[in-house]
């Protein structure tokens, strides 16, 4: 049922763009907003509706970094890898997260509770290094503060499920 509703919204968005092929990026953005990521079934569906070859849709979806083709974990940590953040030591923070939670950048933990993504600059360079934990931006981030924030997140989940 829930899925159907999302499809209806997506279908409506395509209709608003009069099924124009040039609106492909807009549609992919909308689809990712609704589903969190773009799986093959969804991409096929979009290619059928916009009357585009599936290879074209897949090509576009994989070309742009913003589109996710794998299901992300329950919680998202995004590290800004802009120049200012790099110069101010974001690499150390990223390696610390990788070590602590046993995952690699671009991937998720085995239990799919945490994903670690890299983004190329969120534009808050004066506050570098920046780490985004779920929706919250942590500016002038330190290794300790970030690890603590992530652990806190997991702590809260435990309380809920107990």
């Amino acid at each position: 049922m829930k899925d159907d509703k999302r499809l209806i919204i997506l279908e409506k968005a395509m209709k608003e763009h009069q099924y124009q092929r040039s609106a492909l990026l807009e549609i992919l953005h909308r689809a990712q907003e609704l589903y969190g990521y773009l799986d093959k079934g969804l991409l096929t569906r979009i290619s059928e509706s916009l009357n585009l070859p599936p290879s074209h849709v897949y090509g576009v979806a994989t070309f742009y970094n913003f589109f996710k083709l794998k299901k992300p974990g329950e919680h998202l940590v995004t590290a800004c890898m802009g120049t200012a953040c790099y110069v101010r030591g974001v690499e150390e923070i990223i390696s610390a997260i990788e070590r602590e939670f046993n995952l690699k950048r671009g991937g998720s933990t085995a239990d799919e509770r945490l994903s670690l993504f890299i983004t190329r600059c969120i534009g808050a360079c004066a506050m570098a290094p920046n780490i985004i934990v779920d929706e919250g931006v942590m500016g002038k981030a330190t290794k300790e503060a970030v690890l603590e924030r992530i652990k806190l997140l997991f702590g809260e989940i435990k309380v809920e499920t107990c």
Partner: protein
């Protein structure tokens, strides 16, 4: 809505604003919001009510004030008192002491006058002064009066001539004469014609365009409207990065407001001009900022550049004549129309007129958004405005122009900022990023970082860029592992030259810049990595060390 009505709105709003004795501008841009700017805004609104001064004191939500590292930033007018790192508690104190009692709180004031002294804020004229979500604020400060002047008093050719006289050059990096470009599009055959505003600020470490959109969205829309009048375009697109949600939201609202005042749509201000603007979201591709790649992206394709000619001016979106301008270029346009091209041409240097916005970041005391006249030296930017390197460390290099810019050493700091001087030194203007690097950073590692970035972002069309950059990356990996040979440096230099010469678009042409400039100016660091197996900054060989320790 007629042209004269715009002037009426301005008058009404000015009268309303004059009725307030104080105005508190709270910066609510992407730099300040994560640090509680919205709570501070709310605290000011509450405090003003608490002390019963709503009628004398206006609290406004504004865009970036510029001092992004000390957010949330708040300015109290009159007198432009700038408060830094404001908290909700401080907000109440400021309202009580400054607004009610008339005593500014000296302890909370921003004390670094040098930050603003050498700046000239033309493009950022309204940033931090107006509420970007209120079109009336923009109109009260002379907004849309340039459009009114164009529509009522100037022919399209007169507008183009004024832009030509001003000497304005494209702010996206290439520095092409704007007036000349407008003439090309005007003379091109084909209809409809399009205007594309480029807000795909893909350079990591740069946020000048985003800040402009968040602080003064109508300046961009007005610039597009004037361009549309001049070249005869009917449809405009603003291509913006999806990573900038607040800027997207702000621009959408601005467009809707402009529409409701009949500034967009059919018969703009009851004149024959027909022009509308749509937003198109990018999706994280650095190369999409290139002018032919942006067109492919707007059309829904992969953002891959194509050979020129034909130039977009003759064959752009869907094969029609298209004017592509960076948003900063567009924001200059209303000023030139209002004050005349001759006025603008006197600012900056003779070959590079006007100002340039830079995001000043990295190891610098006062990072933030700045705007300086062309011809200002890098030393003035880094040491006078930026306050130099913090924490007692030493300046090593300044990276100008983003990931495909150049790393310039201290001896070149007296270089004036203009397109030609920067290119000659091996850097580029780019979209305006200045990153300061201190002695903690290794230049070999830094050059590798940018090469990695360009490898990731290469669209894969041209072999020199796709294959050559990977080859360069491998050589760097070898050097950093301690397996480098002196012969590698010659290979790096040669490969870099080939990539630059044989690539189609700006990305490939400039991608070797960080490698070539670090080789030119910091060769000793490469040599000590290769010969002594030592990293002067202590950044590389860490894995090796750990391995030997265990």
């Amino acid at each position: 809505m007629k042209p004269a009505d715009i002037l009426k709105i301005a008058e009404t709003e000015q009268n309303l604003q004059r009725s307030y004795k104080y105005r508190i501008n709270v910066c609510c841009s992407s730099g300040c919001v994560p640090f509680g700017a919205l709570k501070v805004l709310k605290a000011f609104e509450d405090a003003v009510k608490e002390f019963g001064v709503q009628k004398e004191c206006k609290v406004a939500r504004t865009g970036c004030i510029g001092t992004c590292s000390l957010g949330p930033a708040v300015v109290v007018e009159p007198g432009d008192y700038l408060y830094q790192s404001v908290t909700p508690e401080k907000a109440r104190e400021i309202t009580r002491d400054h607004v009610v009692l008339g005593l500014p709180l000296k302890n909370f004031l921003y004390s670094n006058e040098a930050f603003f002294k050498k700046q000239l804020r033309l493009v950022l004229r309204n940033a931090g002064k107006i509420d970007p979500l209120r079109i009336e604020d923009y109109i009260a400060r002379g907004g849309y009066s340039a459009l009114v002047k164009c529509l009522t008093k100037m022919s399209p050719q007169e507008v183009i001539d004024e832009i030509s006289i001003s000497g304005l050059r494209g702010r996206g990096g290439a520095g092409f004469q704007t007036g000349q470009k407008w003439n090309f599009v005007t003379r091109a055959h084909g209809s409809p014609k399009y205007v594309v505003a480029n807000l795909d600020e893909g350079d990591p470490g740069v946020f000048a365009n985003r800040t402009l959109a968040e602080a003064d969205p109508h300046a961009i829309i007005e610039g597009m409207l004037i361009a549309a009048h001049a070249i005869g375009a009917e449809q405009g697109y603003i291509y913006i990065r999806a990573e900038y949600p607040l800027a997207i939201e702000t621009l959408k609202k601005a467009r809707d407001q402009a529409k409701s005042l009949n500034l967009l749509g059919e018969n703009v201000l009851e004149t024959p001009l027909k022009f509308d603007v749509e937003l198109r979201l990018g999706a994280g591709a650095f190369v999409a900022g290139e002018e032919t790649a942006i067109l492919a992206s707007v059309e829904g394709h992969r953002a891959m550049p194509r050979p020129r000619p034909p130039y977009p001016a003759t064959s752009g979106l869907w094969g029609k004549p298209t004017l592509i301008q960076n948003v900063e270029t567009l924001a200059n346009v209303p000023l030139i129309v209002l004050n005349g091209g001759a006025w603008f041409s006197r600012i900056g240097t003779s070959r590079c007129t006007g100002t340039k916005c830079f995001s000043l970041t990295g190891k610098v005391k006062n990072p933030g958004l700045i705007e300086v006249p062309m011809g200002t030296t890098l030393r003035e930017v880094v040491f006078d405005i930026g306050g130099g390197v913090p924490d007692g460390r030493t300046f090593k290099a300044v990276l100008v122009g983003g990931p495909s810019g150049g790393c310039l050493p201290e001896v070149l700091l007296d270089l004036p900022i203009d397109y030609e001087s920067l290119t000659k030194a091996g850097a580029i203007m780019g979209s305006g990023g200045i990153v300061v690097i201190d002695d903690e950073s290794c230049m070999v590692d830094t050059a590798k970082f940018f090469t990695d970035f360009c490898v990731d972002e290469s669209c894969g069309k041209c072999v020199p860029c796709r294959v050559g950059l990977v080859k360069v990356e491998k050589i760097f990996e070898g050097i950093i592992r301690g397996e480098g040979r002196m012969g590698d440096l010659t290979i790096l230099e040669k490969t870099g030259d080939y990539i630059g010469e044989a690539s189609l678009c700006g990305l490939g042409q400039t991608a070797p810049n960080p490698v070539l400039t670090t080789l030119r100016y910091f060769k000793d660091e490469y040599v000590s990595h290769i010969v002594d197996k030592k990293c002067p900054a202590g950044k590389c060989f860490k894995n090796g060390k750990e391995a030997s320790e265990t």
